[in-house]
Symmetry: C2
Subunit: 349 residues, 2 copies
């Protein structure tokens, strides 16, 4: 079946492009001796995670215990969760997972570390923990090397835990300086930093310019989107995910309404103007959305789309789009090859 | 089980409040002899749709054929889809649905009407069609009474179709004037306007001030959200849906990070500042989101939340939140009574 026969709105993955994206980053990181641990939150598809591992990834990154459970069920055997996992119920699930496959987790507080230690001791397992630090995102992560060193010490002396290194997102020159300072602080105590994990698709081709990174987490690189285009990390002909929509209304000369809105594209702007790039109508301005309507100004288009016409959209931010669909269609040269369930979506807790 | 024992992030519906919301609007519309046809896109839960019908709704509104299919499977027997349904595959599904239960649809173009007529004739059914008109939203809908009258005529003379009236969203004084003008234009041809359907939760208590409305569609009223609070249509103690989250990080004195971000709350701002109202910390400013992190400034709070603490959030816009979760928990006085699948989510096409 050709993708043009699929009902809209539909998410179509160009398999050739996606496989090339997976290979390209793997080759680059291999060349620079940086381990690749792609973040599957972008696609949440077991089969794509398997392709990433088959291409050479050391394992994968999952944002939630529930995502990691799905990926373990799919046979992925080395999982990193860069998140503070708190609370009895989640810690119990984490340890059940850790009993099946190697799992590393993250902490930026003594509270999180104490939770991990208690759960690991009860499960009679050793849980590797990285310390999250912050050199720019201002989200999670300790802001000072002294605090990072203190948490590293706490992990190192906690029964049931192993200090496994440092992680941050995104990375910059200050990240390297931060790691070096923590290393200095820990040297006297003979605590080494086994791994340093940086992440982010926009900065992926700069990973080799960082002196401290040992492992890299990129998510969006597998598909790409409009914000990644803007960052320059991928080119238009490398974008592997498109949303095909249909023009359902043309109430005025300038206005076209698509059958995809915020329940298709999400409302993530990603710092961009408009909600997506329409390939067939580069002059069109995707200026607004309702839940099931895309509002497009086609006034500047030399030819304007007609009712019933299909148009192809590159979303601003692709990760929440995958998360809205229960399945994605994989195609080559426009021909449907596979339909994958987005197995790890809806795994909210 | 108490809701405080549920893993977070979790969507909890206060059943007493929800049932009161359903009853209140039903009583109001009954008192004003306006038929109630609630929009289920807000909740997408079969059991809630059944409660709405049991309370007195004449039927329900669904935004997509796929939503309507789920609701028909759940035993709801009178469905309205206020959307242009185009394309062979969707029209085939629409007619299969119309063969099972009464379904009304919408058109704002001759293109859509021709599609309906062809499908209805092939299926040997009569499909009721309303004409969508626009007096303010600037989304779908014909902008002039003359165009509305022309489409009404086209429907009336199309084999397989029945002209069933006019619909718009939202409503205002111009909507009534528009309807009257269309009625005048159609009078000479003996075409009457059987139904006039208006919609919207913010304007629901003004429905009785409109002279032309015969049927009302509200969706968000069942749960409420921060944007509905701002509109004044519901009060804080009537909001029936909350998202319980956990504070997973406190990297600085001012910053708290919640385990819910854009994949929990969506990025819909709804014209508001910030991403939600935190009940326990009214001074907190929910200023940013990543996919799985909520970024909150607690600097102005007299007492600040600790890591591991649970906080209760009213989202800006509740409809996309339901659409992100596979299930919602129904509770009374904090005690879990039921877990409902969000059956009509993920029905993208």
């Amino acid at each position: 079946m050709h993708v043009n026969a699929l009902e809209t709105p539909v998410v179509v993955v160009d398999l050739d492009r996606m496989e090339a994206n997976i290979e390209r980053l793997q080759r680059y990181l291999d060349a620079h001796h940086i381990a690749n641990r792609p973040h599957i939150k972008t696609h949440k598809v077991s089969e794509i995670a398997r392709k990433q591992v088959a291409a050479g990834a050391v394992g994968i990154t999952c944002q939630k215990v529930s995502e990691a459970e799905v990926m373990a069920d799919a046979g992925i055997e080395d999982l990193f969760i860069p998140y503070n996992i708190l609370g009895e119920a989640k810690l119990r699930r984490l340890m059940q997972l850790a009993a099946r496959v190697p799992v590393q987790v993250t902490a930026d507080s003594a509270y999180a570390i104490k939770g991990y230690a208690g759960a690991a001791q009860q499960a009679e397992l050793t849980l590797p923990v990285l310390v999250e630090f912050d050199t720019g995102m201002h989200r999670c992560g300790v802001p000072s090397p002294a605090e990072a060193a203190a948490l590293a010490r706490l992990i190192a002396r906690s029964a049931g835990l192993a200090f496994n290194g440092l992680m941050t997102f995104p990375h910059n020159a200050a990240s390297d300086a931060f790691v070096r300072e923590v290393r200095g602080l820990l040297a006297a105590e003979d605590i080494s930093i086994p791994h340093v994990s940086y992440g982010g698709t926009p900065g992926m081709w700069k990973a080799h310019t960082r002196t401290e990174v040992t492992e890299y987490r990129a998510g969006t690189y597998v598909y790409g989107d409009r914000s990644i285009l803007k960052s320059g990390a991928l080119k238009l002909e490398q974008i592997a995910l498109h949303v095909i929509t249909t023009v359902v209304s043309r109430p005025t000369v300038e206005r076209a309404i698509l059958d995809g809105g915020s329940k298709t594209f999400s409302s993530d702007l990603g710092g961009l103007e408009g909600h997506g790039m329409i390939l067939e109508y580069p002059e069109a301005r995707f200026y607004g959305m309702s839940e099931e309507h895309g509002h497009v100004d086609v006034g500047a288009c030399p030819r304007r789309p007609e009712i019933g016409e299909r148009v192809t959209v590159i979303p601003n931010h692709v990760c929440p789009v995958s998360n809205l669909f229960d399945q994605v269609v994989g195609a080559r040269n426009g021909k449907v090859e596979v339909v994958w369930p987005v197995a790890a979506r809806g795994t909210v807790q």
